[in-house]
Symmetry: C2
């Protein structure tokens, strides 16, 4: 597969953050928004230098920005309210991603603003709200500061913010929130290959979720017991991500589906499947409209994704999610 | 792990085929019997030069031998009757393993015999009746011909017979039928490491079975699509077999159980699990008496083995199978 490495992206992706304007001080309100993501392949493996496949979805996180004449910042969301001064945005726990982004770019900003954060994410699934709000906030800051809106720059700065807040993170969710669509992603060495095509999906919620950090801890414990097996399994996931990217390029969705099935087994092997998740995956695969099915995300709950639209009742609650080509936008 | 290679076995295993007698022409009736087997780890991978774990079980195939004064051979079993001459045992389809064994060793035999073949194998599961009957027949021939009864010799000659009949075969089932107990096994280069310990098991029948040759064909098709992934997966199975052997030596059964769980995922990845097999494996694992669970055999049906005795109702039919240390015997 011919590989596009990252330096190329900063040229290719200049316009991938929608929104253009004349060079002037921003006085009007605007909206920055970024999509949530679903992991398709290689979760867990991506934490160890392997490639994964992630996609943006049609549920987005929005930040409506009202520029102010003073240096005050007001944040309003379903989670609460927050007031601060631009030059001293003490990082409140509730809005730590937004406030850290502001803090890290405050020298670019000459005016305060009121922010209204709205999310159309399903509350139940891990669509990556931290990544989405960071991407949207970073894009909003660059827009207000009259910076160019290259996607790769938004991604880089957002990643710095996310890692400042949580200390680590693969950045895969951030890549999806910034670039949109399906991406082949590797954290280190960093590689982001946006792919042009998307496909309908069926997303089933398993009814519960184990916190990602708990799942990662459990997986690491098992990996320490069986390091050789995990090395082989993660390598199989890495190769699968590469082949899946090629399949997306060629719109060879049956191959993508087979790779989902194969990797569902690998997820089971690393201990993140359950009786229910496995059952959902098999129910989906038995549906004639589904090309393959696999846990999406860290596992031990959350959701199972089927490639294609189900044609028969699945018997589990479905989430109204689809892939989306739209990354972070200003409008 | 210190490895015992095969040449050592022919010394270690001299007495592993029970039965001794004075050097004389056999006139009395005797019984040769050999156990069936269950695959524990590495099925499919063993066909590609990787190690597997196989164990003998407490259901056996018996051949009762009545030496004759003439050169006739009579075979009687539930499958039918057969009559032939020792020097010209035309290979009938029903008794092809027995007759091929006789044909390949007819120069050792000076007298005919009546054979009564009895099996206490469950008819539903693939315990390896071909391997067991070949091992028992070969031991019976060597006994009648006053040959020594080294296990490794019985194994070697039986393997020749099995491969003459069916053209291929890993020989893992034959190793279990000859040596008994749990074995670390590799077909090529050939390596057989009998292990001293066994453990109670719970064996659940899934209610159906897909012919092994069909499953192998399906797996090979998928392997041709995804050769790199299969190479990694088979390597993970190989390492698992090695670690499981070490766990058996150290009676570290919890580790053996974890390896079963991990390898159940790998079996799922290569496409030989089903909704039901996966469900059975999870039901078994949730039982407090079970240390781990995995498909046993080629998959797409047949049975799931749990390490340990279940303490609660499983909700699926159980098979009355246990591991057994007893290999091929003459009595």
């Amino acid at each position: 597969m011919p590989m596009q490495y990252r330096p190329i992206l900063s040229i290719d992706m200049v316009t991938s953050c929608s929104g253009s304007r004349e060079n002037r001080t921003v006085r009007e309100s605007f909206r920055a928004s970024a999509p949530g993501k679903l992991m398709l392949l290689g979760e867990h493996a991506v934490l160890h230098g392997n490639r994964c496949i992630v996609c943006a979805v049609n549920q987005r996180l929005h930040i409506i920005v009202h520029p102010r004449h003073d240096a005050k910042i007001n944040i309003e969301s379903e989670l609460g309210h927050y007031q601060a001064d631009l030059q001293n945005p003490l990082v409140d726990t509730t809005f730590r991603f937004v406030l850290t982004a502001i803090d890290q770019h405050k020298e670019l900003l000459s005016q305060g603003f009121d922010l209204k954060i709205e999310s159309d994410f399903s509350a139940t699934v891990g669509l990556g709200s931290s990544a989405a709000v960071t991407a949207a906030m970073t894009a909003a800051i660059f827009y207000m500061a009259d910076q160019n809106l290259e996607a790769i720059k938004i991604y880089d700065h957002s990643l710095t913010t996310v890692r400042t807040v949580q200390g680590s993170g693969s950045g895969a969710d951030l890549a999806a929130s910034v670039f949109g669509g399906i991406l082949l992603y590797r954290a280190f060495p960093n590689e982001i290959i946006p792919l042009k095509n998307i496909h309908p999906i069926t997303v089933v919620y398993s009814g519960s979720k184990t916190p990602t950090t708990d799942v990662i801890q459990m997986v690491e414990k098992l990996r320490n017991r069986f390091p050789q097996q995990f090395s082989f399994i993660y390598s199989a996931m890495d190769v699968s991500a590469e082949q899946a990217a090629q399949a997306v390029k060629e719109t060879d969705w049956p191959t993508f589906g087979q790779l989902l099935n194969l990797n569902q087994g690998l997820m089971d092997a690393i201990g993140v499947s359950t009786k229910k998740l496995s059952d959902i995956a098999y129910v989906l695969r038995h549906d004639s409209g589904i090309l393959g099915a696999k846990i999406s995300g860290s596992g031990l709950g959350d959701c199972v994704i089927g490639l294609g639209k189900h044609e028969n009742p699945i018997g589990y609650p479905l989430l109204p999610l689809e892939m989306s080509k739209q990354g972070v936008t200003i409008d």
